[in-house]
C-alpha cells in the first residue's frame, strides 16, 4: 500500500481547502445558519461544486474530478476543523460511491452540484442496515414502499433519496434488500425534520405506499446491500475524517486557551495536571489520524478489503472526538459552557457524528469479527 504519509498533491489539496473554508465557512457560519434556522448555506455548496468537491468521487466521464477516497477524507477533515455544514458526505461520498458503476444517471448531477442526495437506511436509534424492515412490495410492474426511516442526514434538503428497502426475507437478513433511487418529492413520502443538537438537517421519513418502478432500482434486486456497502464504508471513512478534523479544531482552541488564560497568577497551561491531559489528547489525535489516512488508502487501493480499516477509523474517530470536546469544555471552564462560545458546537456535532453510520460499539464489533473473536 502507498505510504501513510501525505503526498504533495494531498498537501496542496488540504492547504487550498483550509484556505477556502477559513474564509467561506468559519465556525461563525454554523452559528449564523443555526440562528437563521437553515442546515447549510446553498451558496457554499455551489462553491464546493465549482471547486470539484462534489465530484471528488465521480468519474471524469460523468463530470467529476475523481480524486479518490483519501482526497474526500482530506476535504471532510478540513470541513470538520471549522464545522462547515453541507451535504458533502451524504451526496458526494455515500451516494456518489453507491451510484458509481450502477449506470444510474445521478452522478452527473452530483458532480455539477445540481442534486443533493440523502441516504435513508436506519429505522431505529442505532445504525443497523440489516435490520431494514421498510417493505417494497411488488405491485404490477413496480413496487410500493411502506415503512419508516429515521436519522436521514440531509433528508429535508435532499432532491433525491437512496432508500434501502426489503424486497424479500425478514428483518435481520442481509439478502432481500434492494436500493431505490427516488425523487424526494414523490407522492407517498413524508419528510419531517427532527431538529438534532448539531443544527444540521436530519429527517424522519414515512413511506406510505410510495410507487417505484424497476428503473428506480440501483444495482441488483434483492442485493442492495452489496450496492450500498461501499457507499456506507466510504461515508464512514469520510465521517471519521470529519470527526478527526473536529477533534483537531477543538484541540487547537483548547491549547491556545491554555497558553493565554491566567489563574492564580500563572498561565493555566503551566499546570502539569492540564499539560498531561492536553498531551494525552494530542497523542490520541495523532493515532486516530493514522487510522483515518489508512482507511482512505484502503478504500482507494483495496476497497474489497477495507472493512477493518474503515471500522478502526470510525471507532477511533468517535472516541477521540468525544475526548477532545469533553476536554475542550472542561479546560475552558465556565466559558466553555456558554452558547456565546464555539466549543459547544464541536461537542454537539461530535455527538451526532458518533452515532451516524455506526457508533463505537458497531465498529468495534466489526473489528472483533474481522480479527477472529
Amino acid at each position: 500500500m502507498t505510504s501513510l504519509l501525505e503526498t504533495e498533491d494531498e498537501t496542496l489539496l488540504r492547504d487550498s481547502a483550509r484556505g477556502f473554508l477559513s474564509e467561506a465557512s468559519p465556525v461563525s457560519a454554523l452559528r449564523a445558519n443555526r440562528d437563521q434556522g437553515r442546515a447549510f448555506d446553498p451558496a457554499l455548496w455551489r462553491e464546493m461544486a465549482q471547486m470539484g468537491w462534489t465530484g471528488v468521487l465521480v468519474p471524469e466521464e460523468q463530470g467529476g474530478a475523481d480524486m479518490g477516497h483519501r482526497a474526500a477524507g482530506i476535504l471532510a477533515e478540513e470541513m470538520g476543523t471549522v464545522l462547515a455544514a453541507s451535504p458533502f458526505i451524504s451526496t458526494a461520498v455515500i451516494a456518489a460511491t453507491a451510484l458509481r458503476g450502477s449506470g444510474n444517471g445521478g452522478l452527473e448531477k452530483i458532480a455539477s452540484g445540481d442534486a443533493i442526495y440523502a441516504v435513508a437506511v436506519d429505522e431505529g436509534a442505532k445504525h443497523a442496515p440489516l435490520k431494514t424492515a421498510l417493505k417494497a412490495e411488488k405491485s404490477g410492474n413496480g413496487f410500493r414502499l411502506s415503512g419508516a426511516k429515521t436519522f436521514v442526514a440531509d433528508g429535508a434538503s435532499a432532491d433525491r433519496v437512496l432508500v434501502l428497502a426489503r424486497t424479500a426475507g425478514a428483518a435481520g437478513e442481509a439478502d432481500g434488500l434492494t436500493l431505490f433511487d427516488i425523487d424526494a418529492t414523490r407522492a407517498g413520502l413524508q419528510r419531517d425534520v427532527t431538529g438534532t443538537v448539531d443544527s444540521r438537517d436530519h429527517a424522519r421519513f414515512t413511506f406510505d405506499g410510495l410507487e417505484a418502478t424497476g428503473e428506480d432500482v440501483v444495482g441488483e434486486l434483492d442485493n442492495g446491500l452489496a450496492t450500498l456497502r461501499h457507499g456506507l464504508q466510504a461515508g464512514q471513512a469520510a465521517l471519521a475524517a470529519e470527526l478527526t478534523g473536529l477533534s483537531g479544531g477543538a484541540y487547537a482552541m483548547t491549547v491556545s486557551y491554555l497558553k493565554e488564560r491566567q489563574q492564580f497568577g500563572r498561565t493555566i497551561g503551566s499546570f502539569q495536571a492540564l499539560q498531561h491531559r492536553a498531551a494525552h489528547l494530542w497523542s490520541e489525535i495523532e493515532v486516530t489520524a493514522s487510522a483515518v489516512i489508512n482507511a482512505g488508502r484502503m478504500l482507494d487501493e483495496a476497497p474489497d478489503q477495507a472493512t477493518l480499516a474503515v471500522s478502526v477509523a470510525k471507532a477511533r474517530a468517535t472516541a477521540t472526538a468525544k475526548l477532545a470536546v469533553m476536554e475542550g469544555v472542561q479546560m475552558h471552564g465556565g466559558i466553555g459552557m456558554t452558547d456565546e462560545f464555539d466549543m459547544g458546537f464541536f461537542m454537539k456535532r461530535a455527538r451526532v457524528g458518533a452515532e451516524w453510520l455506526g457508533d463505537y460499539g458497531y465498529h468495534a464489533a466489526q473489528v472483533a469479527a474481522a480479527r477472529g473473536f
Partner: protein, 398 residues
Amino acid sequence: MTDEPTELSSFREDIAKWITENCPESLRKRPIDEDSIVWGGRNWTFKHEDQRAWMESAIARGMTAPRWPTTYGGAGLSRAEEKIFREEMTRLKAPSPLESFGLWMLGPALLAFGTEEQKLHFLPQITRGEIRWCQGYSEPGAGSDLASVQTRAEDKGDHWLVNGSKIWTSYADKADWIFALVRTDRDAPKHLGISFMLIDMTSPGVTTKPIRLISGKSPFCETFFDNVKVPKSYGEGIPSQVGEINRGWDVAKHLLTHEREMISGGAQGLLGGRSTGEFLGNLDADTLADPVIRSQAMELEVDTLAFGMTLDRYKDQAQSGRGVGNASAMLKYYGTEINKRRYELLMSASGSEGAEWDSPYGSLAAEWLRTKANSIEGGTSEVMLDIIAKRVLELPSK
C-alpha cells in the same frame, strides 16, 4: 511488492538466497526467544555451533549492521534495502545473527558524534561481536531526572577518576564495556557538566550486582564505580568520551530518542504469539462471552491496530528524512501503555490459570509483571507527557 523497482527486486532475490545458504536450517526451525539471541562479547558462549556459523557469515558480509558504512564493518545498505533484508529475514524465519547495545545505541551515537578514529576503533569491534556494551545512565538518586547524574569523573591529568553508581544497567554483569554518563563539571548547570564516557568493565574498582524484579530474574544490574581510573585517551584521536567533554547530554538525548523508538517499536514485537485476537480466539466461549472482557478486548484491538498504523506512518516519516523529533515521546508513551493494557486483559481473560507461574499460557504471569516496567524504563509515561506538552504543544512552564 509487485511494483518494486528492478534493482530492489533483484536485491531481494539475492539477499534471500544468501540467507537461505548461510543461515543454518536448525536456526530457522526453532522459535525465536531469549535463547536464540546472540549477544557476543569476550565471554560469550554460543548455545549452538550453528549460531557461530551464522554470525560469522553475517559479519563477513557486513550484515550485523546493515546500514553502517562498509569502512566500519557494516554493509552500507540503503533504507529500502535494509527494509527488504528485514522482511526476508522474517519471511525465512531467520534469527538475527547478532544483537547488542553496541549495534542499537553506542554505534548510532558514535556515527553521529564520534571522531573518525573512534569510529574506526570501536565500530568494527561491535559489528564483529567482539565487545559487548552496556548502558550506564540511571542512578539510584537520578531516575526520571536523568540529568542530575552524581557519578563523578575527576580530572587527574592523564586519566579520570570515576566514583559513583549506576542502576538498571541491563546485562552489566555480562558486558565488556559500558557507555556511561558521568559528571565532569560540578559547577556547571546540570545539563552542561555531563560527559558520555566509555569505560572498560574489567577496570579495577568496577563491580556489578544483579537485580531481581517482581517478574523474577532480570537482566538489570547495579553497577558500582569505586576509584576507577579511566584513561583520557585510548589512542591517537580516540578520546575516552564521545562528543566534547561536558557536552555528553547532547549525545545522551540523541540516544534516548533512539531508545524510545526501539521500545515503542517493540510494543508490536512484544506481542509475539500473543496477539489479542489470537489469544481470545483460543479461549472457551464462556470467557469470551463475558461482556466486560469482550468490550475491553474490542477497544484494545481498535487501539492496537490504530497504533500499528501510527508506527508505520512515523517510520515512513523517519525514512523520508523528515525525522520524527519529539513525537517519538508519544510512540513510547502510547505503545507501552497499550502493552500494559493488553497484558491486564490477557491475565483477566485467562483467570486463575494465568496467575500460575507455569501456566497453560507459558510464562504469561511473568510477562504481565514485566510489562509494568515498560512505562518506566527509557523515560516514564509522565516524562513522555512532559516532553509532548513542552516540546510539541509548547505549553508554558509558568
